[in-house]
């Protein structure tokens, strides 16, 4: 779980202190964005796919209750037990209930941001159940006792040297061996051990199909398949927005998902789960945890279309230079910056301001969520709830007043232009404009308005003179 007291500006400034690491982080993630571009370019119908994806999701959300009921009925027909959780706590209680009743000692998990959102790991660990994250990136951050810094590449903030050091300490690999293949093999051997000894497996859900009652999980490492095939119990945790109506709609999303996420044409494993393996049992936990409230909000309901590809993070110039840990909500970047404040403005309000409103996220989004606009709409909420820092609020109220009184605005401008050039640099050096290394613009002697008025006067004088001469 993340520390929700994190404030973006301070956390970002801290991250940027190591400029070399920040530059590396930016380039590593930009490389993924470029891979995404190359893949998207391969499909002449890319923009059409985005339009379709948006429409399918918009339609589904408009009748979500019907599709959820249909999904539940069909899943039950397949022999799957369906549970409903109103919030994170209920989700955790349900999962723990299933595991405790069957004396589960070890649970293998295939990456699920939802269980991060619900804080499932600490909940189960406190109750004596060992939880092993099996996605490599997720495993790395678990061993470091960190939250994921990205929803698709959870350990993207780490260099291979840091991982080598971690594995040496935790898994007994050779000190100083930074070879990625060597390290991956070591992690795999360790994970195999856990797969074989686990009593239950938990996966997330990428798509739930109302028509069939089946769920689809996309992974690149096959860990969802191992985690559900070896132990006898499979629990799938899904947010209630994961529904799509029919199997035929799935192709639209699977074509967009991997390309948007990591720039590959498909995920290595796109696994469909319809029922428990022979002799086993399968449970699906459908979680609300604030989603119904977002669905009911006309400004923000679009965010429920998200398919969690992470493309908005990869394209976001702010995320790339500040890392996932500078955001307080479990999901960082543009999508997290709308979901977080939707959940709790007081805790996650600073995320809505961690954005230059460049709009790249809205353009890259495979389901066309108006992300950058949503962030501005959240700022409206923050202002209305009086959550802006006092200085900023006063500044805005002054600006509001001056905007309605142009003469005073002009006077303010004039004073600025006269005063700024004579202020000693020692006084401006620590201002928010200058402290990070920007000089103030040169102050012109006259505003445009003054120049324009003078120009009009000169013209008039000339005309008057000419008229006079003509009269004479």
């Amino acid at each position: 779980m993340k520390d929700d007291s994190v404030k973006h500006p301070q956390a970002a400034a801290e991250f940027l202190k190591d400029r070399a690491q920040a530059k590396w982080h930016d380039s590593a993630i930009w490389w993924v964005r470029q891979k995404r571009d190359a893949q998207a370019k391969q499909l002449p119908e890319w923009e059409e796919l985005r339009r379709l994806a948006r429409e399918i999701k918009a339609h589904t959300l408009s009748q979500l209750d019907d599709y959820l009921a249909q999904f539940e009925a069909n899943a039950q027909k397949n022999g799957v037990t369906v549970h409903w959780a109103a919030d994170a706590d209920e989700h955790n209680r349900i999962v723990h209930g299933i595991l405790a009743a069957r004396q589960v000692k070890k649970l293998v998990k295939s990456k699920s941001m939802l269980t991060e959102e619900c804080g499932l790991n600490p909940y189960l660990e406190q109750r004596g159940i060992e939880v092993v994250d099996t996605d490599l990136g997720e495993r790395i951050v678990q061993l470091r006792h960190e939250a994921p810094s990205h929803i698709v590449m959870p350990a993207i903030h780490l260099k291979k040297e840091q991982i080598s050091e971690l594995f040496h300490k935790e898994l007994g690999t050779e000190a100083g061996n930074n070879d990625p293949t060597y390290l991956t093999h070591a992690a795999r051997a360790n994970l195999r051990e856990h797969f074989l000894t686990a009593d239950a497996g938990l996966t997330g859900v990428n798509f739930a199909i109302a028509e069939t009652g089946g769920v689809v999980v996309c992974t690149n490492e096959g860990n969802a398949d191992l985690g559900t095939s070896l132990p006898p119990i499979h629990i799938a945790s899904m947010g209630l927005e994961k529904i799509i109506p029919k199997l035929e709609h799935l192709g639209v999303f699977t074509r967009l998902l991997a390309r948007s996420a990591i720039g590959s044409p498909v995920t290595t494993y796109t696994s469909h789960f319809h029922q428990a393996r022979p002799g086993g049992e399968m449970h699906i936990v459908i979680v609300d945890n604030g989603r119904s409230d977002i669905l009911g909000n006309e400004d923000f309901y679009q965010s429920l279309r998200c398919i969690r590809c992470g493309a908005c993070m990869n394209t976001c110039p702010v995320y790339r230079r500040s890392s996932g840990f500078s955001y307080s909500y479990i999901i960082p970047g543009p999508i997290g910056s709308t979901l977080g404040p939707s959940r709790d403005m007081k805790k996650h309000g600073s995320m809505a301001f961690a954005c230059s409103t460049c709009g790249s996220c809205s353009n890259v989004c495979p389901v066309k969520i108006n992300l950058h606009e949503q962030l501005v709409l959240h700022r409206k909420k923050a202002f209305d709830q009086n959550l802006l820092p006092t200085g900023k609020k006063m500044g805005l109220l002054a600006m509001r007043f001056l905007t309605q009184h142009p003469a005073l605005f002009d006077l303010g401008g004039k004073v600025m232009r006269k005063v700024v050039p004579i202020i000693p640099e020692s006084l401006t050096r620590h201002s928010a404009w200058s402290r990070a290394g920007r000089d103030l613009p040169p102050m012109p002697a006259q505003s445009f308005k003054e120049q324009y008025q003078q120009r009009s006067q000169n013209k008039k004088d000339k005309q008057d003179k000419k008229d006079k001469e003509e009269q004479q």
Partner: protein, 266 residues
């Protein structure tokens, strides 16, 4: 309304009037950009008036969530400019706020709805309304320039094809620079990444904003260009602040200053 070139005004049955919209910070800090815009329009035969009662369009207020302030500013703007046939400004971001975001505040106002399609960013106005095929006086600008696509001009006004979208490439700034002799137009790597200005973002998160600006300037410098040329003075101001602080050679320049032939004096 059918676009009628200003140059054909002599034949037009009535006089077409352009209201010059000069965003507040341009008025105070970049009067030369405003003057270049005015002179360019006049030299193309347009009748241009600068209404003195205008003030900020309200974008900083809107971007920080002050709905009331944004709403009042939008109504003021509508009142000041509604009498004009066209409203033109040398700032993509401010124009985009008026044409794309006022609907959040005053969508119900019929005067605004009437005004909205008449508000143009200067390059759009030159290309779409005046259908400019040559500059009023020939301009020779034998320099390498790196194009800075500002985010709102790019993604809200569609000045160019954003790199995220899989659509055919076009660029208004590149197209209009073809009218200038001698200029060598270059595109930076990451052709449309944000410079980090972002309105009050630049003072909310100065370290991050400056880091973004430094990276952006480095990308422009890597093209070998002498000038960073854009259509948004705010981005140019931000990058200019970093450039001056670091004593770099490359210079920010508003595209209108090149089109009027006084680019090197910026």
């Amino acid at each position: 309304m059918q676009p009628v070139p200003c140059s054909s005004l002599s034949e037009a049955p009535r006089t077409m009037k352009i209201g010059l919209f000069i965003p507040c910070f341009i008025n105070e800090l970049f009067p030369h950009v405003a003057m270049a815009t005015l002179e360019l329009l006049e030299s193309l035969g347009c009748e241009v008036e600068f209404p003195l009662q205008q003030s900020c369009c309200g974008q900083p207020l809107a971007n920080n969530g002050d709905s009331k302030g944004a709403c009042d500013a939008a109504r003021r703007f509508t009142g000041v400019f509604q009498q004009y046939d066209y409203v033109v400004a040398p700032s993509g971001s401010c124009v985009s706020h008026v044409t794309h975001h006022y609907d959040w505040y005053i969508a119900e106002d019929p005067a605004y709805q009437q005004l909205k399609p008449k508000v143009y960013e200067i390059i759009e106005f030159l290309q779409d309304v005046l259908k400019l095929e040559k500059l009023p006086k020939p301009v020779y600008f034998p320099h390498k320039v790196s194009i800075h696509q500002s985010c709102h001009g790019l993604r809200e006004l569609h000045h160019a094809s954003p790199s995220e979208l899989m659509i055919p490439y076009q660029s208004r700034l590149e197209n209009i620079l073809k009218l200038v002799d001698g200029v060598d137009v270059l595109l930076p790597e990451r052709r449309d990444e944000c410079c980090g200005f972002g309105g009050t973002f630049c003072v909310d998160e100065p370290e991050l904003s400056t880091a973004m600006g430094e990276d952006r300037i480095a990308q422009h410098e890597a093209t070998g260009a002498e000038y960073i040329v854009g259509a948004d003075p705010s981005c140019l101001m931000h990058m200019g602040g970093i450039i001056r602080h670091q004593g770099k050679q490359i210079r920010p320049l508003h595209i209108v200053e090149i089109l009027t032939g006084r680019g090197a004096g910026a």
